[in-house]
Amino acid sequence: MKRPSIRDRLLAWTTFVITLIMAVAGTLLYNSVKRSLYSQHDLLLNEAATLVLIEVKAKNGKVHHEWKASLDSASRETGKSMIQVWDLESGESVKSATLGESDLERQYGKLGERVFYNVTFPNGEAGRAVGILTYPVVENMEQNEGFVPGDHPQVFVWADSTQELRDVLIKTKRAFVAAGVAVVLLSAIAIWLIIYLSSLAVQSFSADLLSREGTEIGEPVPVPDRLPSEVAGMAGKFNALLARIDHYREKDQDFFLNVAHEVRTPLAGVKAVIEQALRRPREVEDYQKRLREALDSTENLVRLTDRLMEFGKLRNARESMVRITLDLNTLLEGVLEKFRSRARERGLRFKGEFCRKAELGTDEELLKIVVNNLVENSVTYAAPNTVIELKTSRTEGMIEFKIQNEYSNPEGLPDDLDVFFDAFYRNDKARDLGANNIGIGLSFCKEVMLVLGGQITASKSSAHGLCFTVSLPVNGHAVD
């Protein structure tokens, strides 16, 4: 899938927005110029019409059109202006010679009111006209006795070609479009340059990233000063992520080193026992004794590898979980029963405080692993002749199980209790494979709890008091 490019998007969208702004602004400006030019044209039209209007006069009791002779001669030369005057009473009209057989369109308003409108001349040219309702001018009443101006309303229409005006507007429009295109192009180039220059640091940073070797994962990526703040922030987060990855890689590496270490010792035992057996001829019983010792060591190895396999399988355990409804108290009592005799040997006593309803939906086998480990650890490491306290409680949506005991190590508890969950951590760093203490029990529990959607934590209850708390969702689904 082709990923969208921020640079391309930025360029496209900014260009689009500038084009839009230029188009709207240009149209508004053009219309304003157009209105202004037409308005000016109408003004001139009105002035000319007003001047000619007085040439519609009453002479000898008739309407006389003085304008016609002079206009016809002028129009013949220019052909630009045309006049037509209608006598509303007789319905007859007088018009410029240039009109020929054609008539102008007639529009008018109240007396003296100027009505402007567009017209088309007989030759097809566009023009602008003003229509005025008027009365003939009576200059000498004596010569026009009996002539009542109100009886001869005239509609005076003056029309002018607007071809020049249109030419100007077309030129203006072209200039606007050219200017708009130029602005858009220049803006796009400027934006592209800005983006390109700004992205140089990003490109160099990304080239640095690509050139990194697999072995350099843990090292933070150097963030150049010129890197934009937005990317620098992201780079910072990336470096934090690298640090986290490195931390987990180190943990994994430690885990494998520890595995190798734990395997080597029983292996060294097997090798030494066999080598020593073969150093000289021996009695059959002696050989058998040594073979048994080698077998014991290999069984330790088998146990260790089994646990490691289980540990590995947990990664896929979520898919194969069998969730049932079970009572934690019942499960706990079963586990306690299993360890009761061992606890008695060390003078340990269980003290339980169980809540009334401890039902939850979870995988019984996985939960049993956790509870088994915690109880076994307590029985193994609690100070002799002390009490191991167990408590279950129910809060909203969660079931909690606590197990608390006096820690037997005289050096006390480590400052960071999370080390208990590190694979191969042991309380006295001793190797005691014979007692099943391989050192991955709590690490295993942590993995199991992740699969079950709960969590396990360790806390200090006193200077030597150690408490493990297991929290599980009642319905078997993780709670945020």
Partner: protein, 223 residues
């Protein structure tokens, strides 16, 4: 020669101890760091084999304490920790050698012998005292060019005197170095073995090479 073995994995510890004993070394062994520290502080050893991950006090801690006490006993670390960093850490704390598990018992024995020679400032496995030549690698003895057959105990006793050429060793010192289960006392077993040795070395009228310092002990020197 007395050796301390500190190793908490029982099958490995017992094999190492048995191998060393069969080679004629007197061996003390323990699985506990505390006990190991006590042994090495209260006894004289020719070599100490220390595991690092042992209960209570780690092998490295014991080594640090020994060196800060001024104890220069040769220490060979036996550990499953095999990274360069871990080896460097062990050697820098004061170990003389580092053996990674699993190892061959023959290699371990060879390294032990090297440490014993180094402790006694012998670069060659051959020790010469006058016309007496002891090959510590093959555990053979010659006097005036003639091979002398010795029992294991006789050889160990002679080697013990030869390493400390000219130095007077008390009966207890000799017994502690030679006998695996020596726990002190006034047994005359050392005197008996010295007698045997003198007889075997006194060939063709050659002069006595093992001398007695009355009230102190025995020493080996040219006639």
């Amino acid at each position: 020669m007395r050796i301390l073995v500190l190793e908490d994995y029982p099958p490995l510890r017992s094999s190492i101890v048995e191998c060393l004993v069969e080679e004629g070394y007197a061996v003390d062994s323990t699985e506990s760091g505390d006990e190991g520290l006590w042994y090495v502080r209260n006894h004289v050893y020719d070599v100490a084999l220390l595991d690092i991950m042992v209960p209570e006090v780690s092998g490295l801690e014991i080594l640090k304490k020994l060196r800060s006490d001024g104890n220069s006993v040769p220490v060979i670390i036996i550990s499953a920790r095999d990274t360069v960093v871990q080896k460097i850490e062990g050697l820098e704390v004061g170990a003389d050698d580092y053996l990674v598990k699993p190892f061959s018992l023959d290699e371990m024995l060879a390294r032990v012998r090297v440490q014993i020679r180094r402790r006694n400032e012998k670069k060659s496995p051959l020790i010469s005292v006058g016309d007496l030549v002891i090959d510590t690698a093959t555990k053979t003895v010659q006097r005036a060019g003639r091979a002398i057959e010795l029992t294991r105990k006789e050889y160990l006793l002679l080697e013990c005197l030869a390493f400390r050429n000219g130095e007077v060793l008390s009966r207890e010192d000799i017994a502690r170095q030679v006998y695996q289960d020596y726990e002190g006392g006034t047994s005359n077993v050392v005197d008996v073995y010295i007698g045997y040795l003198r007889k075997k070395l006194h060939i063709d009228g050659l002069p006595n090479i093992i001398h007695t310092k009355r009230g102190h002990g025995y020493f080996l020197s040219e006639p």
